[in-house]
Subunit: 216 residues, 2 copies
DNA sequence: GTTTGTGAAGGATTTCACAGCA
DNA sequence: TGCTGTGAAATCCTTCACAAAC
């Protein structure tokens, strides 16, 4: 067993492109909305029309994971939604912590859209002595010094960063050190993260700035 | 001058890829942060380190628009930021309207990050008779029936959609009919827009959902 | 010596187009 | 007939690598 063989990578199948992973939640969202409008079957054509993309791309994306459709019919809506949720790890709940309980952090913990999708914010942190100890949206705000312990004790897998820009990198470093591998960053900077950590930014200003080019 | 020549398309230069347009605001953001830390020059290597991307990609992106660097030295930070802002249409202000003055709309109009970047929210709309007429963050909330007139009168170029999901497509259609070409959509659906209209979505749930795949 | 700007090469993603199945 | 799943082709995007400029 000394040398590499062509079959050494059986089971380590070629990784699914990142763009594909980012599109699957869109499919889940459309499917769930489509099923509540009473339809059982959907074709890649219809899915594509809803998402303004080509049917071929949808079929190709799905083919990375299996064969979910029936020729001549299309896809069973509920079945496909379930499969995709399972693939994405969305058929379970995830614990999250918010760091930074200023205006933005308060809005985030009060936002009612996370829990129905399985994202439970179960801890809140802040650096300020005035805010630590307060209860906000039912969460007792903790000091950032307790981050690592709480992440471990409460099985927190997701960090949501809502601190001001000049504290953001420090906080992200602390989350990484605590073992967090998924970070949602609301601070308007491009943070440094090591390989193996996924980070996504929410910055409405960046979104606006990328649109003015077309109307300039 | 009957037939096409190789130079017929002078001036209709090949369009800049959309991905490139989406990265330019990132460069602007880094440059502005870099200049406030006292540096005059920056290399594509340094820019790349900040953004976790390759120097070659940055140089290639910039080359779509001109030659902004000096060999052996790098880029003048302030100059490059200015050029990019001008290219993107960010060296001016833009008027925006928010539609939907519930929890989310109130948070958006109260967010202090837009104005410093030249995005001025100067009108607010809602469908509910109870909310119309109220003053929120200094804005008199108008009825949606006044949308088209106000867009014209106040030279509004950007629509920000913060209505509940079941009203979102209607509102987007109304914005399009009013002549709006840039829409920032906070509602969790994939809306239909005609060619020539740019729309960007802000959906933190989608961002979270695309990360769980990697920690599943 | 350093770093840009850019053709050419390489790699990734999308679309085509059709065999195969219901 | 209708629509999927998928190799092959086409397109798009990134990286390489080096001449030219400072």
């Amino acid at each position: 067993m000394a040398t590499s063989t062509p079959n050494d990578n059986l089971g380590s199948e070629s990784p699914v492109p990142e763009v594909v992973i980012q599109r699957l939640p869109l499919y889940v969202r459309v499917l769930s909305q489509f099923s509540s409008s009473g339809n059982d079957l959907i074709s890649s054509e219809q899915l594509g029309a809803h998402l303004q993309m080509t049917p071929a791309q949808i079929r190709k994306d799905l083919s990375y994971f299996g064969r979910f459709g029936k020729q001549g019919r299309g896809y069973d809506v509920a079945m496909l939604e379930g499969e995709l949720r399972s693939i994405m790890g969305l058929n379970r709940t995830w614990n999250a912590a918010v760091i930074g309980m200023g205006r933005l952090g308060r809005a985030v913990v009060a936002y009612p859209g996370f829990a129905p999708e399985g994202f439970n914010i179960i801890a809140a942190f802040d650096a300020s002595a005035e805010i630590v100890g307060q209860t906000i949206s039912g969460l007792a705000v903790q000091s950032i010094s307790q981050l690592t312990d709480t992440v471990k004790n409460l099985d927190i897998k997701i960090g949501i960063v809502t601190v001001p820009i000049d504290h953001a990198q420090k906080v992200i470093d602390a989350l990484v050190k605590a073992g967090i591998k998924s970070i949602l960053n609301y601070a308007p900077l491009s943070p440094q993260v090591p390989e193996g950590v996924t980070i996504r930014g929410i910055d409405p200003v960046l979104s606006l700035q990328s649109m003015t080019y077309y109307i300039r």
